[in-house]
Subunit: 346 residues, 2 copies
DNA sequence: TTGTACGCGTTATCAC
DNA sequence: GTGATAACGCGTACAA
């Protein structure tokens, strides 16, 4: 692409060889066959005479010919690409999924188109549609997109699989995380350590997964523990910034929206001279790779990111081939106890 | 795409509306105009009668028509996509670049295709070519690809810009980091603190950037300090694993190949009960976002990742428009002193 | 201003 | 087995 409009300006004969597109037609002419034959050879069609095939191959090699993916896509009606839309490439949470998806799709010679909405929720619909239209399928991760909007969008995204979120009423595979169970396990762990007043560093109001976390926490509060809710965010910086508010709240344990927030808070508490977990326990959510390496290592609800990518690919593959849809899966996080939690101080 | 081969099986009239592609032809027929006119309207061509334009727009809206990006790409000779190949999406080092590139390209309505070689160096040439052919330009980050291979590859990737590495003899923009200066600044900082025996946790032998770091360190060694080289790697886990070897080496400071390795080492040293920086100083390279949040925060050579993305886009844009190439840039890392370095123990 | 006709590069369907 | 030829969906000279 992109060299069609090159014109040589002046027409000196000694100028640089003009880099014209090597098309299937040129190869055909060079090899003295028809374009159809070239196409057959390039696609490994067996029923072509060996000598012809060889002529085509040498011609193609010498000319440096390679079929245009764009033209192929148009003719074939498929691109060999699937897209994934993520809200933030910087969140390690998604990288595991991306890796798994890349690998799984790659085994069947599909490539991955990654679109990053950069947490810009307004752009997501158009990004999703655009990405989807350039390829054969989509993996959508848009935790903050309103339900109605997603509903309206769904028909235009098919085939696609929804990740990390649930939306009743639409007929597409959904891979979900059981945030409620994850939260309950974390709370049980903290209660077992004697904590009775917990702070929740909340994610975005608009986030479906934040809503579930919050509802679960509220449902369990009262008898067993007291809950303090602090608006926070999803990033390292958010956690870092909110930690100061914790000082005079009298809470002994912290439930962060995700691991990143937990790290931020952990870091700030350390700066403030507050010992973790002696004076304050902290738990995260996700179990991103860093979690086991912080000081102290982070207790968190471990989400099986490795499984998400391949599973998403399988669903998408099934959809693209009109196979019977498999049952939706709700992945259960596993409580991963590390050093950031300990007995509540007296 | 991908719904052309759908056939309804049986032909019951009450079946679900068959999702046929809405093409420009259908819109034209519906609006009672020619396809050319539809095309003009869709592309905002001003010289079309208002009433016709309106008819086209309503028809397009009601039919849910959107031009096929693939067909457009073929007809226009450009895709509106640029690709970037990275060795590892999981490395925060690249995420800054990706963000910047996404944003810069997005402003001119270009989308980004991210290809991840997953540190699989052998796959990189194929991935690069494939990615490149599906779009209009490429940003290549392949620090471990052998020089000759990259040389041979270059003509097939044009237009492209090379990032994070230098390769004399090819005519394409290169955005480089001055690793040598970064290393020298770090060493000077450590020497100033009294350190005289330094360990280098080396990256891959094949990595160009590792070679420069190593050469710089060796060139400075002798008079001023003693250098111990430890093969390590590029990841968190690599740094974590190598730290044990440090115990009986008698070094007082650690120069990690990058921040990730530094974190790993930092974490392991903490587990081993070695105080940083009291007993051991550690420096990294890159200044990824996490660096300022570890305990202690990491002293490192700060690479201006934010500038790389936009600059890469500018170069690529220039290339794609046959503009005069700008001068190559070599970004100078800035010494960022934080808590992980301190005076050498006696 | 609008429509006709052709080209983009490839694959697929036919005849031969 | 092989070669014309019509798709694929769209943009755009060119003519009207």
């Amino acid at each position: 692409m992109s060299n069609r409009s090159q014109h040589n300006g002046h027409t000196d004969v000694t100028g640089p060889a003009k880099p014209v597109q090597v098309t299937i037609g040129l190869v055909a002419k060079t090899a003295g066959v028809s374009r159809a034959t070239v196409s057959r050879v390039m696609n490994g069609n067996p029923k072509v005479a060996p000598d012809l095939a060889e002529r085509v191959r040498t011609a193609a090699r010498e000319l440096g010919y390679e079929p245009s993916p764009v033209a192929r896509s148009l003719a074939l009606g498929r691109t060999g690409i699937v897209a994934m839309l993520v809200p933030d490439l910087g969140n390690p949470m998604f990288q595991g999924v991306l890796h798994g998806l890349t690998a799984a799709a790659g085994e069947q010679n599909y490539r991955l188109l990654v679109a990053d909405s950069n947490e810009n929720v307004n752009e997501e619909p158009v990004l999703a549609i655009e990405a989807r239209r350039r390829c054969d399928g989509l993996v959508l991760c848009a935790p903050r997109m309103p339900d109605e909007q997603l509903h309206a969008l769904a028909p235009r995204l098919s085939p696609f699989v929804l990740i990390n979120r649930e939306l009743p009423g639409i007929e597409t595979p959904m891979l979900m995380i059981d945030f409620a169970i994850g939260i309950r396990d974390l709370v049980a762990h903290l209660l077992g350590l004697g904590h009775r007043k917990l702070a929740f560093l909340a994610g975005p109001d608009t986030s479906a997964s934040n809503r579930i976390r919050l509802e679960t926490l509220r449902a369990g509060a009262g008898e067993n523990y007291e809950l303090v809710e602090l608006p926070c965010g999803v990033t390292f910086a958010d956690g870092h910034a909110v930690a100061d508010q914790l000082l005079d709240l009298d809470v002994t344990a912290l439930i962060a929206y995700n691991d990143l927030v937990a790290f931020g808070a952990l870091s700030r508490l350390h700066e403030l001279g507050i010992k973790v977990p002696a004076q304050m326990s902290i738990v995260g959510f996700d179990d991103i790779p860093f979690a086991r390496y912080t000081t102290p290592p982070l207790t968190t609800a471990s989400v099986p990111h490795d499984q998400l990518g391949p599973e998403a690919w399988r669903r998408l593959w099934g959809l693209m081939n009109n196979e019977e849809p498999e049952q939706n899966v709700r992945f259960r996080p596993r409580l991963q106890v590390r050093g950031s939690t300990g007995p509540a101080p007296d």
